[in-house]
């Protein structure tokens, strides 16, 4: 026993190292689970408010760019209003519009922290639970998908970027509605890959890729990028398409968080079906 104590005393340094290293590795492992409800991330009070302060300063230098992108977005929206259409049919008829029911609402947020140069990138937004943001909501800009909310605190939220090795987003080729999965596996932050497309599908360079609307997170037809290349990798039966993103992730300021009002309903129904199918 005394020998053991002496041994530990002599090498306490080594054991301390192993213990602390174990804590670090534990943190690393638990972070790969989808929901980490742990304070070691940038949504906690101190780092969140520091990032907020920093971005308040930095924003001044980007006002020109932000204005330009807002003008572009406005232009797009004005084009869709009834005022910009010439009425060709002068017959007047009334209808009670029950055809449409609101499915998505949007919360605007500011990006206060962002990275593009790591394998797994995250963003921090300045809106949190008290503004209605919740886990698993989608984040977009007018020109593309940004990511999915992973953690929320009362005033901040942390988003897994599309530039993250664990993110898989259902997308389609806009012209023929074929569905595939978007993943990011290249070091280039302007490019993602679309996989699981059968080889008979007609793809051409320059085709638009948009969201499929199959998940409960993103609405349909949000633009993502253009096809820049495609081929069948050796030993695989499916096409791999390189997609050049519309959105420059190095240049993110204002984003929208999407709230799907029917998301819960859809998810419950789908889970129920799966459960019943298993019990047969």
């Amino acid at each position: 026993m005394r020998n053991l104590i002496n041994f530990i005393k002599k090498h306490y340094y080594f054991f301390l190292f192993i213990a602390l290293q174990a804590i670090a590795i534990l943190l690393l492992i638990q972070s790969s689970h989808y929901h980490r409800s742990f304070w070691i991330n940038s949504t906690n009070y101190i780092s969140g408010s520091m990032y907020q302060r920093y971005s308040n300063i930095e924003e001044y230098f980007a006002l020109k760019k932000i204005n330009k992108s807002l003008i572009d977005h406005n232009k797009k929206l004005i084009k869709q209003t009834p005022y910009s259409f010439l009425k060709t049919d002068q017959n007047i008829f009334e209808f009670n519009d029950t055809l449409y029911k609101r499915q998505y609402t949007y919360i605007n947020a500011k990006v206060i922290n962002n990275s593009i140069n790591r394998r797994n990138n995250y963003l921090t937004l300045n809106k949190g639970r008290s503004h209605g943001v919740d886990v698993d909501m989608g984040v977009i800009t007018p020109s593309g998908v940004i990511g999915i909310v992973k953690n929320v605190s009362s005033n901040f939220s942390s988003v897994i970027s599309l530039l993250h090795t664990d993110v898989r987003i259902s997308a389609k080729i806009k012209k023929n509605n074929h569905i595939g999965t978007l993943i990011w596996n290249s070091p280039n932050y302007r490019k993602v890959s679309m996989v699981d497309i059968p080889p008979h599908v007609n793809v051409e360079i320059g085709d638009t890729i948009a969201t499929s609307g199959f998940s409960t997170i993103f609405p349909e037809n949000i633009p993502i990028g253009l096809v820049s290349n495609y081929d069948i990798k050796r030993g695989e039966n499916f096409l791999t398409i390189d997609v050049e993103l519309f959105q420059d992730f190095n240049n993110l300021y204002n984003v929208f968080v999407i709230k799907n009002l029917f998301g819960k309903e859809q998810k419950e129904l789908e889970e129920e079906t799966i459960k019943e199918a298993v019990s047969w």
């Binding site: 301390l16 943190l27 990275s115």
Partner: protein
């Protein structure tokens, strides 16, 4: 003694802030990111108790992790270099005894020693960090080239830190 502690606390905070708000914002060609915060571990006094060094490394890495959302990666890599520091110092110095409270800088040690010491520490830290980041050996070459380039930039930054520090010491 109090002066020394105050100085290291200040340096800790300053390095974390510079790392988070300056160095992480410089994104050189997408993939390269210098991590100069380990300058803190490099310049701890020679007679720092080993347990203290490990705890300091742990908290330094943790505070970087909190800001970068990297969950334990920097903690692990910083711990590793803090653990290996005594052996590395032992291996590369001719003189094995150091005056109490002296620390590695351009006055106490010669320039070649500082260069060698920094490059070994930086390279171990960066290589380990990039391996953890990918957690696989699949694209060994790209990891290696990335860690070499990043190490080189961090190395230059750390040498600049050493030079600034020696200037400051002269004034005192």
């Amino acid at each position: 003694m109090e002066k020394l502690i105050f100085r290291y606390v200040l340096r800790f905070l300053l390095l974390v802030i510079i790392q988070v708000f300056v160095l992480n914002k410089i994104q050189l060609s997408g993939y390269i990111n210098p991590y100069a915060y380990i300058f803190f571990i490099l310049t701890l006094p020679f007679d720092t108790p080993r347990y203290l060094m490990l705890f300091l490394a742990f908290f330094l890495g943790l505070s970087i992790d909190i800001f970068l959302d990297s969950s334990g990666m920097h903690t692990s890599a910083t711990l590793l270099i803090a653990f290996m520091r005594p052996w590395i110092i032992n291996a590369i110095s001719i003189k094995k005894e150091f005056e109490p409270k002296s620390f590695p800088d351009l006055h106490n040690m010669d320039t070649r020693w500082i260069l060698l010491y920094s490059i070994i520490m930086v390279f171990i830290h960066h290589t380990f960090l990039f391996f953890l980041e990918v957690l696989s050996f699949s694209n060994l070459f790209s990891i290696l080239s990335q860690s070499i380039i990043s190490s080189f930039i961090t190395f230059i930054l750390i040498i600049i830190c050493f030079m600034l520090e020696s200037k400051q010491n002269k004034r005192i």
